[in-house]
């Protein structure tokens, strides 16, 4: 296997709020190798954005890294100063933020904002920066003439593509893409991904792709990490994760994949209940209150992420019963009967 570019080890991040601290991610570890794309998936609010932002330490004021390491090319980024981080952002690690639609400054032309990054980080001349910005706009399929427009003159999907262009401006070695195409139709999404992947391949760059779209994961990721309630619960290469998942949460997720061929009157199967509020560390397995396969042991004992196969890890006490759980998980009554 190629070398690790990014190694996140035992990372924990908390948000201070009036009622205490939300432990949004807790003891999270994952690795992104050179040239690979790692998918990060999981329910809304499970901590994906928090994990992505902690890597480059662009976090809200009430957030703090409470433990762990973020090793980039072997160097831990956690203790670095803002100044030191600035040298890494854009040219080493670039981010397409989830709030892409709102991330542009409304009072400046879109082109100026992209060119500024290129001039400041790369020392390019204004003319070089303009030429590069035009090239990037063509890459994401926006008329370069649109560089002269203000963000409000762009549609939602155009703003998102502008942010994709900006993140690619300095050929980063690692791209953290947080829901990069949520505002795009599938044809545009397909084109943008085809082009970004071609560029990635040419540069040997890596990507951390945060998404809810399991189709995008299947088509673009080499490996996948599944998060639940601030933890990674399963991690495997993409084929294994889709073909032979073992964690009940992954089984539930897989169930809810939409399909254009499903009968229209069939209600979508969803996992009943809500994830825990992470103000205090939950006892036992975090998924137990919603897990159709939970046993008394699950409610007492926190399952650790353990190897279950080559490159395949899962945090569940009952992975030995995975075959049986997979068979039951496709039945809607398994999820509607309510947790025992």
């Amino acid at each position: 296997m190629s070398e690790a570019l990014l190694e996140v080890r035992n990372l924990s991040v908390g948000y201070r709020i009036g009622a205490g601290t939300v432990h949004a991610i807790d003891d999270v570890s994952f690795t992104v190798h050179e040239g690979e794309t790692l998918g990060l998936v999981g329910e809304s609010g499970c901590g994906k954005t928090t994990a992505g932002r902690a890597v480059i330490k662009v976090m809200p004021a009430n957030a703090s890294i409470t433990g762990g390491e973020v090793r980039y090319r072997g160097r831990d980024l956690v203790p670095l100063s803002n100044e030191e981080m600035r040298a890494i952002r854009w040219n080493e690690i670039a981010v397409i933020p989830q709030s892409a639609m709102n991330a542009l400054n409304p009072v400046y032309r879109v082109g100026r904002q992209i060119e500024e990054v290129i001039v400041q980080q790369d020392g390019a001349s204004p003319a070089e920066a303009r030429a590069r910005a035009e090239e990037l706009f063509r890459l994401v399929k926006i008329d370069p003439g649109r560089l002269a427009h203000y963000p409000h003159q762009f549609s939602g999907g155009m703003r998102q593509r502008a942010l994709v262009a900006m993140a690619l401006a300095l050929n980063p070695a690692l791209l953290i893409a947080d829901e990069p195409t949520t505002a795009l139709d599938v044809v545009s999404q397909d084109r943008v991904f085809t082009r970004v992947r071609a560029l990635q391949k040419r540069l040997g760059a890596s990507m951390l792709l945060i998404t809810h779209d399991m189709g995008l994961v299947a088509e673009n990721c080499d490996r996948v990490a599944v998060m639940y309630a601030g933890r990674i619960v399963e991690q495997a290469d993409t084929r294994t994760l889709f073909g032979a998942p073992v964690h009940p949460y992954t089984l539930g997720l897989k169930n809810a994949f939409p399909s254009t061929t499903r009968p229209k009157d069939e209600a979508l199967i969803s996992i009943a209940g809500a994830p825990p509020v992470l103000l205090e560390a939950p006892r036992g397995c975090r998924f137990a209150p919603r897990c159709p396969f939970a046993t008394p042991r699950c409610r007492d004992e926190d399952p650790a992420l353990r190897p279950v196969g080559p490159g395949h890890h899962a945090a569940c006490h009952h992975t030995a019963l995975a075959g049986e759980m997979r068979a039951r998980a496709v039945l809607s009554e398994t999820w509607t009967a309510g947790a025992p």
């Binding site: 639609m101 139709d185 189709g215």
Partner: protein
């Protein structure tokens, strides 16, 4: 013009030949590629009806005018020409002052951008209570109950865990649900939902879709559902319209439009859906240099520059949206060969 279906259902909204353009003004015009006076025809001669109680899906290319059309319906923009009428004959062009405020009791919009459309200094409770206050509905405790109910319905459970949070303390999906709660708190007749579930994972998405479906079936809520996700749109909607560069190119009963897509752009959309199966090798769209934004001034079909089936006539004339079947209309010469011939030369 319209895509068939039960004739009995009365229209809640009637749009006839609606147009809306934006200009690239001032010093901008010189910089803009197409030069002085360049216009973006965001909505270009669109006619349709939204029937009372139906869920109409709107799918289309990024930048094709979906949000603009929604903004016209909630009167955040005014149409340049054509007509837009609401149920009881209210002309959207004529609404102002009190009439406009009353209109907002009936019509609400969930905005595409859950970050930009919410006041960052308002808590979750403040955000959802605001429309009730603006409409002077209920007393303090009545409002609190309605807010809690709306949060609960939008899946922000339990409501008290969210009521005092600020938007920056919410995840992307939680913010999207806040927008949904805000739009539903007035119990409007028409909801314009602009990509309301794009940031939600499948399991929460299913909950919201089921919620919208239930609001429609039980309370007769009429919905214009803007989305780029074909499978959820097919699941949720009664009819679907497909938009391309300002125009409707296909309109009809939901399953028909998706399962039996006629327009080449609609077929391209279907072919571009990522398949959640790593063993399946879907042919990827070639990253060819097709025109990013074809000049809209061209007299021909807007899709002619990209369309693999384009014929000579397509570059000269624009096809009209006309029925191919009961309840299914398409704007393409392939399906209306007589139109192409009758109009040639």
């Amino acid at each position: 013009m319209d895509g068939g279906g039960p004739v009995s259902a009365a229209p809640l909204v009637t749009a006839r030949n609606v147009r809306k353009s934006f200009a690239a003004r001032g010093e901008l015009a010189g910089l803009f590629a197409r030069g002085e006076g360049a216009m973006v025809h965001a909505v270009d001669d669109v006619s349709f009806e939204i029937r009372e109680g139906e869920i109409l899906g709107l799918i289309g290319e990024s930048g094709s005018g979906k949000t603009t059309l929604g903004r016209l319906l909630v009167r955040l923009e005014r149409h340049d020409s054509g007509s837009l009428h609401f149920q009881d004959g209210r002309d959207l062009a004529a609404l102002g002052g009190r009439a406009l405020r009353e209109y907002y009791r009936d019509v609400q919009m969930i905005f595409q951008d859950p970050y930009g459309s919410i006041n960052p200094r308002f808590t979750v409770h403040d955000t959802v209570v605001e429309p009730l206050a603006t409409q002077r509905l209920g007393d303090a405790s009545g409002r609190r109950d309605r807010v809690a109910r709306a949060l609960e319905r939008a899946g922000l459970r339990p409501p008290r865990a969210f009521a005092d949070k600020y938007p920056h303390e919410l995840s992307g999906g939680e913010r999207q649900r806040l927008s949904i709660a805000r739009a539903l708190v007035l119990e409007p007749k028409l909801l314009i939902a602009d990509e309301p579930v794009s940031m939600l994972d499948v399991s929460i998405r299913a909950g919201i879709l089921n919620l919208l479906k239930q609001q429609s079936r039980e309370f007769g809520l009429t919905i214009l559902y803007v989305s780029h996700d074909l499978s959820t749109t097919r699941y949720l909607c009664d009819r679907i319209a497909i938009m391309y560069r300002g125009r409707f190119v296909e309109l009809g009963e939901a399953e028909r439009v998706i399962d039996d897509a006629h327009h080449p752009y609609a077929q391209a959309l279907k072919a571009a859906i990522p398949i959640p199966d790593p063993e399946f090798d879907r042919p990827r769209s070639e990253a060819g240099e097709d025109p990013d934004e074809a000049p809209q001034e061209s007299a021909g079909c807007r899709y002619a520059g990209t369309c693999p089936k384009a014929m000579e006539v397509c570059h000269r004339r624009a096809p009209e949206l006309r029925p191919v079947d009961a309840g299914h209309s398409v704007a393409c010469f392939l399906h209306h060969p007589a139109d192409a011939e009758a109009r040639t030369d």
